[in-house]
Every structure is written in structure tokens, then in C-alpha cells.
């Protein structure tokens, strides 16, 4: 910057730096965007249970032998598969943060906790405890219940969520969403499971849509 006398100003450099830094910060802050997806953005859901090996909607055994979808009643050998569509995230973006919120309504047993797994195998029509898809031809999970490590689900869980009280729990899922969005792995969604005997956890059903309280909050910015 040149002052009116034509000599360089001693105070110009800090002012420019502050201006540029402010501009940069503003630009970065403006470019980072957040999308909040809800249950209506889930395009695949399934409840799978050992007791109901062919059912796709075995989420809750409301009465003996009668399964329904009014809630997700997680229990050993009864899990829930869900997949959010990430179409709302534009290509060419870097995922800087992703957070999954699940509404837990009840927990049972000592030191209750549930597991969140990234699913590695594709699943589709007819998905159930026995098969990852049943039409046009049955394709089995490597291990029933999507239990095959590294073949059906990731080798390690995305998180193990310990529950102290009922209510919304938030889980950092940045790594999973980043690898799906970057194309490093196909988005086959997640699995909620109970791995400890004697533990049951109830989660509000996402089938009620937006009002269910399910959220996937994704912050992204240009690469």
C-alpha cells in the first residue's frame, strides 16, 4: 500500500494482514456448510432378528410371535439396518464433521450399551437375518445377522455407545461418512446391534419420519 506521500506506510502491513485473515476466515466460514438429514432421508431400513429369520421388519416383538415396527427394540440377535442417502451432499466436498443423533427411549440391563457398525456388504430386497437380499436370488450374509467381520460389517465398530440415561445420543461418524462420500467405500449404511447378553435398548422408530428425532448432521467444505 502506498501513502499519499508515495512512501510505504509502516502501518499498512498489519492492516492488510488483518483484513486478509478476516477475509480468509470469513471465506472459510462461508464455504463450510452443514446439512441436517432426518429419518425421511433414509432410503433403506430393516429390522432383522434370529427369531424371525426371513422377516425384513422384525424391529419389535410386540406380542409373542408378533413383530412390528412401532419402535426399534434392540436385543442380542435383533439388530437394525439403516442407510441415509447422501445425495444432498454435493460432490467435490470434504466432510469435516458428521454426527449421528439417535433417540433412545429405554434401556434395560446392567451398564447398557449398543454398537454402531458400518455395513460393508450391499443389502436390498428381502434383507433379513439370514439373507442380505432375497430377490431375485437369495444371497446369504457371511454370518447370519450381518455378523461377518470385514465381510458383512466393518472389522471394528464405529462406536460403542454407553447409555447413562434415556434421550438423544450423538455419535461421531465423520470417518464413515467421509469414506462413503469420497467413494472409498460404498454407502451400505449402518447396523445397530447389542453384543452383550442381558441388554436391551429401545430406539424410536425412524418410520415416523422427521418427527422421530433421527438426525445425521454433516458439515462439509470445498476440497
Amino acid at each position: 500500500m502506498i501513502n499519499p506521500s508515495g512512501s510505504p506506510s509502516r502501518f499498512a502491513t498489519p492492516s492488510v494482514s488483518v483484513f486478509l485473515l478476516t477475509l480468509l476466515a470469513t471465506t472459510l466460514a462461508t464455504d463450510a456448510r452443514t446439512s441436517i438429514l432426518d429419518a425421511s432421508d433414509c432410503n433403506q431400513l430393516a429390522g432383522i432378528a434370529e427369531a424371525a429369520p426371513r422377516h425384513s421388519w422384525a424391529m419389535h416383538e410386540r406380542w409373542p410371535g408378533v413383530f412390528t415396527t412401532d419402535k426399534i427394540a434392540l436385543a442380542p440377535q435383533r439388530s437394525f439396518l439403516f442407510r441415509f442417502s447422501l445425495d444432498k451432499i454435493p460432490p467435490g466436498q470434504r466432510i469435516s464433521h458428521a454426527q449421528l443423533t439417535l433417540p433412545v427411549t429405554q434401556r434395560y440391563g446392567s451398564q447398557p450399551r449398543f454398537y454402531l457398525w458400518r455395513i460393508t456388504a450391499g443389502w436390498g430386497p428381502g434383507v433379513c437375518y439370514r439373507y442380505r437380499s432375497a430377490t431375485p436370488k437369495p444371497v446369504k450374509w457371511t454370518k447370519p445377522g450381518a455378523a461377518g467381520l470385514s465381510s458383512d460389517r466393518a472389522t471394528r465398530p464405529t462406536d460403542i455407545v454407553r447409555l447413562i440415561e434415556n434421550g438423544d445420543v450423538t455419535i461421531n461418524v465423520t470417518e464413515d461418512v467421509e469414506i462413503w462420500h469420497s467413494g472409498a467405500a460404498k454407502n451400505n449404511g449402518w447396523l445397530l446391534s447389542i453384543e452383550d447378553p442381558g441388554i436391551n435398548v429401545d430406539v424410536r422408530s425412524p418410520l415416523t419420519g422427521r418427527s422421530s428425532g433421527w438426525k445425521l448432521r454433516i458439515t462439509y467444505e470445498p476440497e
Binding site: 433414509c42 432410503n43 433403506q44 431400513l45 430393516a46 432378528a49 427369531a51 424371525a52 429369520p53 426371513r54 422377516h55 425384513s56 421388519w57 422384525a58 416383538e61 410386540r62 406380542w63 410371535g65 408378533v66 413383530f67 412390528t68 415396527t69 412401532d70 436390498g124 430386497p125 428381502g126 434383507v127 433379513c128 432375497a134 430377490t135 418410520l207 415416523t208
Partner: protein, 398 residues
């Protein structure tokens, strides 16, 4: 280029783009070009239900007439025109119910044998009905008529005075699924089935005789033609016959809780019933499916909503799709029309409504309606062979 050359050039362009087809080609194709051509009105006043069989070249329409409740049409002639004058059959009822009106609620052809199964109902004194009224009538299909060969489903286990009563037979013809059963002790709504023998007749089952326990704690048994029953009263009241889809011997889909589909897995007592309530539906749904699509369809009776959900061997799977046809009031089960005319047809108030489907049976949000001479269209049947949709109407169009 002079005018005649320009005309020839234009015709050549239209021909190349498929916009112009010589009349002779239209005459050769059997496919109707539009829903108007697809639809064949058939005059049967008071029609309630209809079924068509390409195996037997027959269309049967059931009505609530005092007599001649079944009208049987041959589809052997020109399928594009209303079938000729039907043969008519009176549904049977005992003499002690002479003054009561019986009506057919559901019909199904045996997939292999020349048999027609009819589910009928009646409104009268319960005791008289339980003593003498058979709900399931089996007819042999003969060259010129239907001949009653058997009658079943009588007694306090069968509810009566109901307006819905669909039946279904599995694709191999080994089991018939029954509506509107009840627990005789408490009236709890149930559905059930008879296993069918090689002749298509309900197979008797071994039932323990009460008070016959011997010293080893074993009962004596008698052979009784009694349906296998599952109680659905916790989530479903009577009638339970809104529709059945039986894609296999061991599973049957019916309308369950929350207006959505339910599956009965007859082999798995630990998970006999699977429910998929669909909260956005305004009312209970009449249901249907097509074997080629592995998709269930439902039409909310008295409302404007349709749903579709994929199924695998009868187990509903993945997300349901719900659409509305504003102004429609559905009265019939959906009828799936496949091949070159992927559509769902549903009877409405004075109209037949068509919803477009893609190859996976998903709604394309293309809708059409055609007016017909009937205040409430309840009886539709599609013949895949003739590629026509037969619609029972009250009278010929003036």
C-alpha cells in the same frame, strides 16, 4: 423440392420416427393402445367381486342379487368385446335360511385343477347360520356350467354378516387361505387355511377328542375338516378378509395393523406374524400383487391413497411408497396390469383409476381415470392372455 416430394419426405420422416404407422400394423397388434381400449365393461348389476382365469378362459363375476349370484362368461371369443350372455349360478344356502340373502365376497380359481372356490356370507340368526350355512363352496368347471362339488367352513368358528371376504390359493394349489374366522370362545378375529389334497379338496386334520386321555396321557383323535387358525385380534378386528396374497405355501399377506400389510409365516411359531403399519394411510387397504413383480399393492377403501411395497416370498421388505389420486374414492382391490401396460387399475366412484408403474412396480405418478356406468366399481379382473381389464358395470353406456 415440389409439394409431392415434400409430402413424401415428411411421411418418410414420420415413419422413421415412429409417429406414423400404417393402419394394417395397428390391426395386427393385439395390444390395446390406451386404457380406453384395455377396459372392457361387462354388465352385472350389484357386482361385488370378479376373477378371471386364462387357464380356463373364464370370467366369473359375483353379485349381491337375490338369485344368480355368479355370472360366468367365456373369454374364448373376441376378448376386446364384452363377453356374450353369461351362464348363471345360484349360491347354495340351507332351507332354514331361505329368507336371508347370501352373497359372494371372494373367489379364486385353483391354479391347476378345473375348480372354482367361492367364499360367501349371509346375515341372519347366528345359530341358524352356524348349523346350516357353508361359507366355502367348491365348483367343478364343466364345459357348459359350474357344478357344486363340495361345501365347507360351517359353524361358530366362522364369523358372518361381513362385507369383505377375500380368499387365496398358493401357486401350487396346496393350500387355501380363509378370511373372517373367529375364536368361538371369545369372538377374537382370526384368519386360517385348509390344506388341499390332490383333488383340490380340504384335507381333514387329526383333532384330539376331549376326555379320551389314556393312562399314558395320550388322546384319541378324530379326522375333522377344520381350518388351521391364527388369532389376529390384538391388531385387527373383523372382517379380516380385505385381501390375501399367497406367493408361497407357507406365507400369506393380509391387511394388518395401521392399514399396512402383514405376513403370516405359517411355519414359524416364534415369529408367526410380521406387521408393517403405514401411518400415512387413511384407511384399511384392499390388497393385491402380481407374481412377476414381487410387489404388494394396496388401495385404501373409501379413500384416495395407494401404497406399494416390495416383498420377498411374501415378507414385506424395504420402504413402502404411498401416493394419492386426489378426488378418487377407491372401492376395489387393485388389479395389476403388466406386460406392455404397466399400470395399476383400481375401481372408484363411477370410474376406473389407472396409476402408472415402472418395471420395478414403483409408481411413476402418471394417473388416468375412465368413467364407467357404476356408482362404486368393486369388481375388476385382468386377463393376461387377452390383455384386457374386465370391469363389472351396472348398465350399458347410453
Amino acid at each position: 423440392m415440389n409439394r409431392s416430394e415434400m409430402a413424401l419426405h415428411l411421411l418418410a420422416c414420420l415413419y422413421a420416427t415412429g409417429l406414423f404407422v400404417p393402419a394394417a400394423v395397428h390391426a395386427q397388434t393385439a395390444d390395446p393402445a390406451s386404457p380406453d381400449e384395455l377396459l372392457v365393461p361387462v354388465v352385472v348389476p350389484g357386482a361385488i367381486c370378479a376373477v378371471a382365469s386364462d387357464t380356463h378362459n373364464l370370467l366369473v363375476i359375483g353379485s349381491d342379487d337375490d338369485k344368480h349370484q355368479l355370472s360366468i362368461f367365456s373369454l374364448a371369443g373376441n376378448a376386446a368385446h364384452a363377453p356374450s350372455k353369461p351362464a348363471q349360478v345360484d349360491l347354495p344356502k340351507p332351507a332354514l335360511l331361505e329368507n336371508a340373502k347370501n352373497r359372494p365376497l371372494g373367489m379364486a380359481f385353483h391354479p391347476k385343477l378345473p375348480l372354482l372356490y367361492v367364499w360367501q356370507d349371509i346375515t341372519a340368526d347366528a345359530e341358524k347360520i352356524h348349523i346350516g350355512f357353508n361359507h366355502l363352496i367348491i365348483y367343478a368347471i364343466e364345459p357348459t356350467a359350474l357344478r357344486q362339488v363340495a361345501a365347507y367352513a360351517r359353524g361358530p368358528e366362522f364369523a358372518h354378516g361381513l362385507s369383505m371376504g377375500a380368499i387365496a390359493i398358493d401357486p401350487q394349489g396346496r393350500r387355501i387361505f380363509l378370511p373372517n374366522l373367529q375364536d368361538p370362545s371369545n369372538g377374537g378375529a382370526s384368519i386360517g387355511y385348509f390344506d388341499l389334497d390332490g383333488e383340490g379338496m380340504p384335507r381333514p386334520t387329526r383333532v384330539p377328542i376331549q376326555g379320551t386321555l389314556d393312562g399314558r396321557g395320550l388322546n384319541q383323535f378324530e379326522l375333522v375338516t377344520k381350518p388351521v387358525r391364527v388369532n389376529v385380534s390384538r391388531f385387527r378386528g373383523l372382517p379380516t378378509g380385505w385381501g390375501f396374497v399367497a406367493p408361497s405355501l407357507n406365507t400369506v399377506v393380509f391387511t394388518g395393523a395401521g392399514h399396512g400389510p402383514a405376513v403370516w409365516d405359517t411355519q414359524n411359531r416364534r415369529a408367526a406374524i410380521g406387521l408393517l403399519p403405514i401411518d400415512t394411510l387413511p384407511g384399511d387397504c384392499l390388497i393385491a400383487a402380481d407374481a412377476q413383480l414381487s410387489v404388494l399393492f394396496g388401495a385404501a377403501q373409501g379413500h384416495d391413497s395407494l401404497y406399494r411395497v416390495a416383498h420377498a416370498d411374501g415378507y414385506p421388505t424395504l420402504m413402502p411408497q404411498v401416493v394419492q389420486l386426489p378426488g378418487a374414492v377407491f372401492h376395489s382391490a387393485p388389479t395389476v396390469i403388466v406386460a406392455n401396460h404397466n399400470r395399476l387399475a383400481v375401481g372408484g366412484a363411477g370410474k376406473v383409476h389407472f396409476a402408472g408403474l415402472n418395471k420395478r412396480g414403483q409408481f411413476t405418478n402418471e394417473f388416468e381415470s375412465i368413467s364407467v356406468e357404476s356408482d362404486a366399481v368393486r369388481a375388476l379382473a385382468y386377463s393376461r392372455k387377452s390383455k384386457r381389464l374386465y370391469v363389472a358395470v351396472e348398465k350399458d353406456r347410453q
